[in-house]
């Protein structure tokens, strides 16, 4: 229920709205006019045409990849934290032992088909060995391509 107000209050409120209403409309219109006359604000990408110059954002999460230096060495110690963190079992860390009897990474198997790119594995990794790559053209015609082994060399770390 509305509170009872006197006639003078009603008229005051009415006149106040006559000023504030148009003012708020003008504020809104100024925003849209600013956007209309400024083509630099357009965020749409003309994707297949600007494919050469298109830069993906830093925060974009594409497929998982391993951080490797020029020689193909990585920081993975086969601890399996990423495997535990993965909510849908897209990662299998297969460890082996090197000559010294130390547990090292054998094969890092990544099932891209079931991965949701949540990034929890990257957060869980204690050594910063993996990251989400900015690649976004990941479609393929062969389902076998979606099962990848991320480390190129066996037995490091």
């Amino acid at each position: 229920m509305q509170k009872q107000i006197s006639t003078i209050q009603y008229i005051k409120r009415y006149l106040k709205r006559c000023i504030t209403g148009p003012w708020s409309l003008i504020c809104g219109l100024s925003v849209t006019l600013k956007y209309f006359f400024n083509p630099k604000r357009i965020v749409t990408e003309q994707y297949p045409e600007n494919r050469k110059t298109l830069k993906m954002h830093d925060r974009y999460r594409g497929r998982l990849e391993m951080i490797e230096d020029a020689d193909g060495n990585n920081h993975c110690t086969a601890c399996g934290m990423c495997e535990r963190a993965c909510p849908n079992a897209s990662i299998n860390v297969l460890a082996t032992k090197n000559i010294a009897g130390k547990k090292v990474l054998g094969r890092y198997v990544y099932h891209f088909a079931s991965c949701t790119q949540c990034g929890l594995c990257v957060e869980a990794c204690p050594f910063g060995a993996i990251r989400m790559s900015p690649a976004f053209e990941v479609a393929t015609t062969d389902p076998n391509d979606l099962e990848m082994i991320l480390n190129k060399k066996e037995g490091q770390g």
Partner: protein, 373 residues
């Protein structure tokens, strides 16, 4: 024998040429009456074709423009693929719409269902015939132009109500009833503003309303009456937006609440006709605003002879269409900026704000005429 004449240069040209061509006919069927009747019929056909071309031709342009304006307001690009910057997109859409199967929902009143889109189209076509596009380019130069426009605009409500009622759908009916109430309410302030224009220009003929604004930009009705003209223009803008059922007053459609309002059940060509009527109404309302406030087909002279002579070299039709499209752009910016009021707020706005302001404006205009002129 009385034959109504069409007065424009093309009409004179036709009247000149028909007797010359008639000389080739056998002498037994040659007569003055036949010549004048044939000339009139040819002129009438030319007029009909002209109105249809202006209306139906501008609809795809307006749809394209609407999509582009909407996109740029929202930081998008709009249609870009088909043709240069998506120019052919609306044509493709129109073709797709025309080739769709037309069917009515079960339980619909078939006759009314198919009659409604036709009735909606009547009003904008008749209004377009009354608009003077240039000194000699007017199809029907009637002396009671403004009352005829007001009378004809009622067809829009009728068509929408019929469409909503005959669809046998509760959302359509709700939308139609809401929009009926809205359009009837806003017709009052629409009429009042036209009355204000008639009052200050002293004529109901659209041609003489336009001719009264000859001269510089400050002779247009929007600037000639200080402050009052501009207020009248804003009020006309608001009430014509409501008349056209465009956002922010699109409670007839209100796609977020009513799944499309009165044309929920329409598809294919009948739907295209509703859509067409909406955009032709946009053109005719912009043309009316241009004629009544923005100086019609006169160039925006600023009082400096060197500039004015250059501006006057451009034909009046070009100025008229430039002004129309400027108005259309204004309507579109308003549509994509403002939010839709609730039904009760809409009615409040009309009866508690717009109507009193209109009455005050009429009194002030009368006082201005009594004192100033």
């Amino acid at each position: 024998m009385f034959v109504p004449s069409v007065t424009h240069p093309i009409g004179d040209f036709v009247r000149d040429w028909v007797p010359r061509l008639a000389e080739y006919l056998p002498a037994s069927i040659q007569s003055e009456d036949l010549n004048s009747v044939v000339a009139f019929l040819i002129n009438a056909v030319i007029c009909i074709i002209a109105v249809c071309v202006v209306n139906i031709g501008s609809a795809p342009i307006l749809i394209y423009m609407e999509r582009k304006v909407c996109a740029h307001v929202q930081c998008r690009l709009g249609p870009m693929r088909l043709g240069w910057h998506g120019t052919l997109q609306t044509i493709a859409d129109v073709i797709k719409m025309l080739f769709k199967e037309v069917y009515a929902p079960s339980g619909a009143d078939k006759l009314m269902f198919y009659l409604a889109p036709l009735i909606v189209l009547i009003a904008p076509f008749i209004v377009c015939a009354l608009i003077p596009f240039d000194k000699n380019l007017v199809v029907a130069d009637v002396s009671m132009g403004i009352p005829l426009i007001i009378a004809v605009n009622g067809f829009g409500v009728l068509g929408i109500l019929l469409g909503g009622w005959s669809s046998n759908n509760k959302y359509s009916l709700l939308g139609a009833l809401r929009s009926g109430a809205q359009m009837i309410s806003y017709e009052i302030s629409f009429t009042m503003i036209l009355l204000f224009v008639v009052m200050i220009s002293g004529s109901t003929n659209l041609m003489s309303i336009t001719m009264g604004q000859e001269g510089t930009i400050f002779d247009w009705w929007i600037f000639k009456i200080p402050v009052l003209g501009f207020i009248a223009f804003i009020l006309f803008f608001i009430s014509s937006t409501a008349e056209m059922n465009r956002a922010p007053f699109d409670i007839a459609e209100a796609e977020q609440e009513l799944t499309g309002g009165y044309h929920t059940e329409y598809n294919g060509t009948p739907f295209a006709m509703f859509y067409l009527a909406e955009y032709i109404a946009l053109i005719t309302n912009s043309a009316l605003a241009t004629t009544c406030f923005l100086g019609g087909f006169f160039p925006p002279c600023i009082g400096i002879d060197a500039v004015d002579n250059v501006l006057k070299m451009v034909p009046g039709v070009v100025w008229f269409f430039a002004k129309i499209y400027f108005m259309v752009w204004c309507y579109m910016m308003v549509r994509w900026t403002f939010v839709r009021p609730r039904v009760d707020q809409l009615m409040d706005f009309e009866w508690k704000f717009l109507l009193p302001v209109n009455l005050v404006l009429l009194v002030a205009g009368a006082a201005f005429i009594a004192i100033g002129l």
